[in-house]
């Protein structure tokens, strides 16, 4: 990664509790930083206009689209990706377990974004209505499930976590 692509910045970003100090080009998107620089493949890319949400991660407690943020702008931030989820016997947290039980995923490509969306939603609103859930999911596209089982999974997760 030479400097022909523009200035190179040294940034410090904490991802899933681990702090990384890396040199990145100014133009590098956070999603590419996560996937390619850090080699964490669970965050996905599904579009080129910030509409699909497959790249969603948690940044300083907020759900954001990592394709709509520069890596350099994430300096000093705490990022959580799908890889941070799940402990316990089968390695799945209550939200992941609910998605599994209620068939909330098919191809799995959108799933990391939805899991993080559900995590931040339920942290803010432990008892969301169906309308509130759907509203929260607006920024995440799924082409397989038709959203029905995703909503049911989140409702089940909310109940299990209350």
């Amino acid at each position: 990664m030479a400097g022909e692509g523009g200035a190179v910045h040294s940034i410090e970003v904490t991802v899933n509790g681990e702090t990384h100090q890396v040199a990145v080009e100014a133009r590098r998107l956070l999603v590419h930083f996560i996937r390619e620089t850090l080699g964490m493949r669970g965050t996905h890319i599904g579009c080129d206009s910030g509409n699909c949400g497959a790249c969603s991660v948690i940044c300083d407690g907020q759900l954001i689209k990592s394709c709509m943020m520069l890596a350099v702008a994430a300096e000093g931030c705490e990022i959580e990706t799908v890889e941070s989820l799940g402990e316990g016997a089968d390695g799945l947290d209550p939200i992941q377990a609910a998605f599994k039980e209620h068939h909330g995923l098919q191809c799995g490509y959108c799933t990391p974004g939805f899991l993080l969306n559900a995590k931040t939603l339920l942290a803010e609103n432990p008892n969301p209505s169906e309308a509130e859930i759907r509203r929260a999911l607006k920024g995440n596209l799924c082409r397989c499930t038709g959203y029905v089982n995703i909503v049911r999974s989140i409702e089940a997760a909310a109940e299990a976590m209350r």
Partner: protein, 825 residues
Amino acid sequence: MKAETTYYPAVEQNERLGAYSGQSVPRVEDKRLLKGQGAFVDDLWMHRQGHVHFVRSPYAHARIVSVDVSRAEAQPGVYATLTGEEVGVLQQPYFQMAPEPGGLMKDYCMAVGKARYMGEPVVAVLAESAALARDAAELIDVVYEPLGVTLDGVATIEPETPVLHEEIGSNVAWHGVYDYGDVDWALENADHVVRIDRLHFHRFSSAPLETTGALVNWDPGTGEIEFRTNNQMPMFAAMFIGPAIGVGIDHMQFSSQDIGGGFGIKITSYTYLTALALLSRKAGRPVKWSETRWEHLAASAHGNERTFLDIEVPVMSDGTILGFKVRAFDDAGAYLRYEPLGAVIWSQVVPGNYRLKHVRVDYTETLTNKCPVGPNRGYSRLQHLWMIERIVDIVAKELGFDPVELRKLNYVQPEDYPYETPNGCIYDSGDYPTMLEKALELIDYQGARKRQRAAAGTGKRIGIGIGSTLDSGTNNFGQSRIINSALPFSGNGEAAIVRLDLYGEVTVTIGTTPQGQGHETTAAQVTADILGMSPDQVHVAAGYNKAANTYVGFSGTYASQFAVTGLGAVMGAAEKLRGEIIKVGACMLGAEESDIELADGFVRLAANHEVAIPFIGIAATVFANVAELPGELADSVTLNCRYVYRPPFTVPDHETKTGKLTLTYASQIHAAVIEIDEETGLVAILDYAAVDECGRKINPKIVEGQVHGATAHGIGAALHESFEYDSEGQLLNATFADYHAATALDVPDIRYDDIECPSPFTPNGAKGMGEGGGAPLSTICSAIEDALPEGAHIVFDTHNHSERVYELLRSAAAKGPRGVEVESR
């Protein structure tokens, strides 16, 4: 019944389906996908790889005057480029399925001499990083000479229209007339003739969330090409790529990984795979490509766009619809990739869900300067089925029949099965009247009619709609000979191997390419049932792998057939293995084979469960303890059992265009209540019900999930998704910013129910399913039309965004032509 039909008695089907088939067993795939550990193609990496960026034509139709790659190649970190001129030399044009003149088309992996649609790849550049490849692309100078464009799928056949492929001489790719029964007699003798000017099925795509991608390496040492890609029908791809670049299929390795949705759009990517292979060979490096969303929407594949003209429908006074005649024009875009198979595949469902006997379809496949089409979910049947359902609603409205009663009158009835259609297809089983009742109950039909009446004058109009469709599954590829009698395809098949590994582990490999349908889970279920164990004791290899798995020419995952062909193959292989295990076990236990049963991974005496050998013992005898194996067993037992499931098909008749074209017919009856804002035309879905029938369900939750997904695709296309080209052939909405993919706010909660009418033709009573996305298109058109004021124009298009609904609302007062005329005698 026809001689070639194989019946599976229900008893035999039941015997095969044991404890786990029919259960919603949790999916094996989920754990890795939930943890973000799925391996999708962009996650893969090869040492020394370069990244590809395609320079694409900004014009819909242009001669390529010159290409200068020198500035790009001079950039440090740029490894190689590939131009259309080189491709024209390095590649033979792809094999064409169309007969002449359409078959004279010269199709290459990139534009050679001429670009024929906006976004067609013109130059490929390979560089050290994707960013560098993208930057270098801006240094490539291409000079174009724009040519006239042709964009209307019907007008494109007129003389004086710019011709895309000079070799063909026109923009007609294929033409044929399908004529069944005697529609002229029917039109002459019917009590009414309903004439519909024009119906139009619009252009959209299932647009899977993961775009096309590949990692391709043409190894200079071995001459073998490795394709790691998310193509969903790899052997079809191989059959096109091999002859084009002069490489034997035995020198091509294909593997898939986790695939982020396919829906038929990832079938025709063989053109990109060819370009990547050529570039890899030129550069002496592996090449990696990840399609952007813009590229995917502009230049992967679109669903077929079809226009229906001059529809005439003979109807008797009691409401019996005798049939119809129509001129159909299918706009295939700029190249034929999977076409013209669509020109015959619709005829799997000639009469739709109905007992229509007299049908004439004058079918023309045409070429325009738009993205080539691919077999998008519902491929070619949903266009035809939508037209039929429009006919039914329009006939009901024009002649004053109740739309529910008219359907029930004309539906194929439960007692009619197996039902032979006018062109010799056999509908295996079904019960549409019961499904319709259930759908209407789910939306509280009577209550909805009350709400509809109460809404009068409130500024909102309520409409209730019904959509009936079929999902014909497990193709007979012999129908391709109806299009072109010289094609060497017939029947269908899928292959599987079920084996014991060295320590008795049960392993399954299949020729399929799953993209979220849960094959690892359902294959484990049926294997577990046959071998008497639990599914988590069965290991199913993930994804497609030509070297490690087994395959046939039709291997892949498409066209609603896995439950029949894929699982049929798995079941056949499992039964073979069961037989071998019992043979070895009987020998080792000194018993008769009929005394033996399998349970929990053991071979045991049925009469005394204590006398048992675990599978590891069986495997050891065959693999490691070979001196102790009796001669006759050593010769005949491998514990590595391959089975090819072949549905019982014969070759259809080219002259009469008849035959058994599909093995199974799943069905979908949907109902919806919508509300239209009179001032704006905005449609809100108040209630939506989907009732499905797909034979024996192997995993009910997976089936229901497929219904939800297909329904969402249909709703999205009906209200939000439509590709729009301007008058110069520029695609105006090639990103998700402008091509609005339905969100969780756009898709309602779907009320679901199903019935099971086991197919008598399949080993497990299951039917292929998953392509039922046509039903919402019909249902929503039906509901909108039901809400329109008296005198409004018919709903004529599959896509009804608010502006179109606004125009339809106002058409009543405008008192212009309504798109339909009735002649009553």
